[in-house]
Symmetry: C2
Subunit: 338 residues, 2 copies
């Protein structure tokens, strides 16, 4: 729709009249939104409609009119007035300067957010849920129960190190065998082809993977590879491991959730989990683990751990409880899947 100043003037008059109509219907209400002379009010509105940065003031005024209109006792009249209001709202939204125009959407982020309604018919059939959590928030319990409810795999640090240990054993076997044949390219290639579909190139990459890396980094990068590999094959829940950022960087859609709870609540829970802890020790433990978490996340991602801009969703588990949080997340997913 193209707008000229005449149309804007008309729209402003329309708003003024709607306000008058609502006032006439309610009489004893808080008064009109525009309670000065018609000409002056319309002129001010036209100014607002032409200025992009103050458009929200017009919105507040419209909201105030509609708030009042909703209290009109006569059902038929209320319906009529609200219809008029909606028409006006549509027109205001269509204004080139309107508040409805600039979105905050980051198309790249949104395309990776599997909670987004727009994404629900995407090609990606795997449901990958990354859960970050603070110590003592019950996040691990929530993740585990969620995996159980969804009947999908659950991965945490312990499982990863267990899986990687086993993969390492397998890899070492390959490396060992490889070393026997490394002077013979042809033989070497054949050996790998027979042995787990590894090309020489892949083997070289695997072989050099640890070089120049600390063990911690090697573990991290191994985990990252594993997470991306798995994400292409199956649905799962992964706890921590900066999985959200790893998947985002690899452009793999997922859901990222951060679970936390007030500090005092977490201290109390830490003491319940480990009865030997005094309150002072529990406080120190929770703080220490928060610091470590923060450092780990920052080191590998350059982002601030637990900052809500880094996740699709943050939950305060104290407001739901473990069972409630699981139910809440399931609710979002069910709808998503339907």
């Amino acid at each position: 729709m193209q707008f000229n100043q005449e149309m804007i003037q008309e729209l402003a008059e329309h708003i003024y009249d709607l306000d008058a109509e609502v006032y006439a219907q309610l009489g004893s209400s808080l008064g009109r939104v525009f309670n000065r002379d018609r000409e002056g009010c319309v002129r001010d509105m036209v100014k607002l409609m032409n200025s992009r940065d103050r458009a929200h003031l017009l919105r507040s005024e419209l909201a105030l009119i509609s708030n009042m209109a909703r209290t009109i006792p006569d059902r038929e009249i209320r319906k009529m007035v609200m219809k008029e209001y909606n028409e006006i709202l549509c027109q205001v939204k269509a204004l080139p300067t309107s508040f409805g125009e600039c979105d905050i959407l980051n198309p790249e982020l949104a395309s990776l957010n599997a909670l987004n309604l727009k994404q629900r018919f995407s090609q990606n059939d795997h449901r990958i849920i990354c859960i970050g959590r603070t110590y003592g928030s019950g996040g691990t319990d929530i993740g585990f129960a969620l995996a159980d409810a969804l009947k999908i795999n659950y991965y945490d640090a312990e499982i990863f190190s267990e899986v990687l240990k086993r993969l390492d054993v397998e890899k070492d076997r390959i490396v060992d065998r490889g070393s026997f044949t490394e002077h013979s390219d042809i033989q070497g290639e054949r050996a790998f082809a027979e042995n787990g579909h590894m090309s020489l190139k892949e083997w070289m990459r695997a072989f050099s993977r640890y070089h120049g890396l600390s063990r911690r980094d090697a573990v991290f990068f191994n985990q990252s590879d594993l997470i991306c590999d798995m994400a292409r094959k199956e649905s799962f829940i992964v706890m921590g491991r900066c999985a959200d950022v790893i998947l985002t960087n690899n452009r793999i859609p997922h859901i990222s959730i951060f679970i936390t709870a007030p500090f005092e609540q977490r201290v109390r829970r830490a003491m319940e989990i480990n009865k030997k802890l005094t309150e002072k020790q529990a406080r120190r433990l929770v703080k220490k683990l928060d610091r470590q978490h923060t450092r780990y996340y920052d080191f590998y991602t350059g982002r601030k751990w637990g900052d809500s801009v880094n996740y699709d969703l943050c939950l305060n588990s104290a407001a739901y409880g473990i069972e409630g949080a699981v139910e809440f997340i399931l609710r979002m997913l069910e709808q998503n899947a339907s």
Copy 2:
């Protein structure tokens, strides 16, 4: 269920056997979870089951078994094994030291969280949604569109100041009339009774409300009263105003949502809204408004603005867009209402 050491021993053996069964079915998998001698493994598990603070290790081991079990190709066998796994899981959860035992639930917080599934048949029919948001996150647009979609009232700072201005006019009228009769208690009381159901006590409170308060504080406390009054009467959406904390302190159930987006995204949007801003100015503006917001929230609530422990839910609007965020919130509510 009462557990004795014999039962724990039995449970550990059951887990060991399940692992062996899964391995037998898969053969070429990553190997068994418990790959040492039966006796040693069972002894270790019994130790884990008796220690509360390391119970999560047992959970990881169980998860690893179930992750593998889910890949058993034969459907019937897989079903049987998973059934066995679920039985074991139930028993482990029932252990006095188990990870399933300590909840993070804060019953008071949960009873005020209207998103909680447990609350959905509560007496409270009003739906009050408090939305905090960072500047440039599109939070205001999301709130406004949400009110429109839910057909409930929308309140923001502008509307509040407008409403309070009008209420003040009315109050002044009362105060004026009151001052004529303040030497006559009986007459005074009658006058108030006739005039808006105000008792003398209430009037005294209203009259003295501004004394000793700065205008800013008076506005805040007036807004707080208004929010609580309204919450008893109607459903609505309220933007900012520390409404979440005000309602929590007054024990009124509500939903608290914080909406934010990455800084760069917000700067870009600020520039789109106000085309006159240079990038440098926009950065400064966003930072300044964040600081002001933080100070305001901290001053009146003593809490950290935007910290996810203070809300039921935090959303990153850049991952949804305005429309997507509205759809997402509606989705949670629809389910809640059903």
